[in-house]
Structure formats: C-alpha cells, structure tokens
Amino acid sequence: MSVPITFGELLDRHEREILAYALRMTGDRDDADDVYQETFLAAFRSWPPPRRGSERAWLYRIATNKVIDASRKRKRLVRMADLQLAAPDRDGVTMADLAAAVRALPAGQRAAFVLRRVEGLEYTEVALILECSEEAARARVSEATKKVREAMK
C-alpha cells in the first residue's frame, strides 16, 4: 500500500485500530476517545511520518505516549463493557480479573503486552512503537505475561 499523503488517508487507514488500541489500553471510552483524538491531532501537527511506510508504528507510538500521559494524570476504574474488547478469552478467568491484572501493569509493560498479546503485532513492530530494542520488547512482554499469570492464580 502506498504511503498516505493526506490526513484523511491516514485516518481512513488507521483510526479503527488506534481507537481499539486506546480502548484496550485505557479501559474507558472517554479516555480512549481522548487518546484517539490527541494521537491524530499530534500526528497532523507533526506531519509527515518520520520514515516512509512507518506511519502505523508512528501512530501507535504517539498513542502509547498519550496513554502514559493520561494514566499519569489519573487512575480510573475499568468498565466491563469496554473490556470485552480488550481481554483474550481464557477459561476460569473473568474478564474483570484479567483486565484488572493488565491495568495493574506499569504503562510500558502494559503497552508491550497489549500490542503483542492482544493486537498480535510482531516484536519488531512492538519495538518500533515503544522505541526500544526487540530484546527489550520481548523482555517487557515476558515480564508482563508473568505478572498477569501471577495475578490470575
């Protein structure tokens, strides 16, 4: 697919996944809406994407930073309805348990966990988004997974 040359094209291609990601990361519709808006406004303001073809990673990176900013500002309770989207199915574990465990992760690990385990991104992409090495991305996901498993016991 060619590189998007307009804001409208960027929006058409990526807004759904960015909003879904924001919902998974924040667990709250209003917060997710804010993250989505702030992400695209920041992208428009700092256009163009840093490297050709990397606009998806660029957007996730901005969105991740917005989530971290927002979670620094306040902590929110998680709504069940929104988490239906967020949590992978697992026997014997309620959505709320899993969501709470994910929410309890530090922002960096939470982002790595959601990007890899929920969004299903490749480690190379996770690393690009989180601006770290692939090893560091793997380590974060592994650490996050361990913590989530612990919390589920």
Partner: protein, 198 residues
C-alpha cells in the same frame, strides 16, 4: 464500535478544523452517475471524481497546492452537493459554486477555463477549445487537458466532442458522457452527435 468510531471521528474533525489543520474538505456525494468524491479547497471546488474514491494524481496535485490537510468535511461540500442534485434533477443549468484550478498548470487552466464557459446543452470541438484557449495548434494537448479535467460535470468537459462529430473520450466513461448530454440535450445518437455546431 461503529457509533463510538463515528462520534470520536466527528469530535476529532471538529478540533482539527478549529486548529486550522484542514485545508481541503471532502465527502462522497451520491448521484445518478454513481458516487462522486467531491473536494473543496480555500478557493472553491478542487475535485469531482467518479467512483467515489479520489484519483491519486488529483490528490497529489491538491497536496502540492494546499498541503496534506485534506480531511472529511460533509458541511463544506454541501453547497456543491446541492447544486449537483439540482443539476441532475434538471433544475440547474449553471453552477454557482467557485471552481479552483490553481493546482493545475497554466496550460490546463486556460483549457479548462475555456471549457467552463461552454453553455449548458452546447457542444464544442476539442479544436475549438484549443482556439479559445489560445492554442490553435495544440489540439491534441488540449484533448489531453480536457480529458484530465479534475472537476468534471461542474467544469463541463462532457460538452467537448471530437471534430468528426462523435463523442470523443471521457474520463468518467462514455456512458456517463452520453447520459450528461442526454440530460442537457435529449437523446444522443448511437455513434455520437452529428457534426458539431462550432
């Protein structure tokens, strides 16, 4: 999810407009000839594209002229949509909305300005448009410029036909050219029109 998306998008677009991040607004307008992608810039309509998707070359030209701030904006396109509706309903013969040919080359601008002045229901030949644009000898290049008209219907390139009286070409497909001329003049002869008046 769909309604969440729509609401979030509307709020985002409102903020982007307020911040001056939108240079060109667009939306898809339904018409008897199928969906049309219509874009309006600071000086007027910059594109009307058959099929409801922007043409890559038009988009590149728009971005060169006005930057990447090309965003969905239904309201901005409404006046054009209204005039198109009236035109297709046979209630409008002249478009009042401003047309912006700035993103084009001076040659294309001259050719399309001459095309824009061809009255409703009239026919002219490519050669005549070349003459009116001050390029008597550039009939073929004129044909190219008419054919690449980024604002069909509003800039009525469908009124430009071949010198032998046949329909010539049309970027939106000859069927659409035939239907537009039918709307303006009544039935179109199968092989095109008889020898042009011009």
């Amino acid at each position: 999810m769909i309604s969440v998306m729509t609401d979030a998008r509307e709020r985002l677009l409102t903020r982007a407009r307020r911040e001056g991040l939108e240079a060109v607004g667009y939306r898809v307008v339904d018409s008897p000839l199928g969906p049309l992608w219509v874009a309006v810039g600071p000086r007027g309509v910059v594109a009307v594209t058959y099929g409801g998707e922007p043409d890559a070359r038009d988009l590149a030209r728009i971005v060169r002229a006005y930057g990447p701030g090309v965003l969905p904006d239904a309201r901005r396109v409404d006046p054009v949509a209204r005039e198109l509706d009236q035109y297709f309903a046979g209630r409008r013969r002249v478009f009042d909305v401003a047309v912006d040919l700035t993103p084009l080359t001076p040659f294309q601008r001259r050719v399309l300005s001459a095309t824009a002045r061809v009255p409703y229901g009239d026919l002219v030949t490519y050669a005549e448009i070349a003459r009116r644009a001050g390029n008597d000898k550039a009939s073929r290049a004129t044909g190219g410029a008419v054919g690449a008209n980024p604002i069909p219907i509003v800039v009525p390139c469908h009124r430009v036909v071949a010198t032998d009286g046949t329909l010539g070409g049309y970027s939106g497909g000859l069927d659409n050219k035939r239907r537009l001329l039918q709307l303006e003049r009544g039935a179109v002869p199968a092989g095109g029109w008889p020898k042009s008046r011009s």
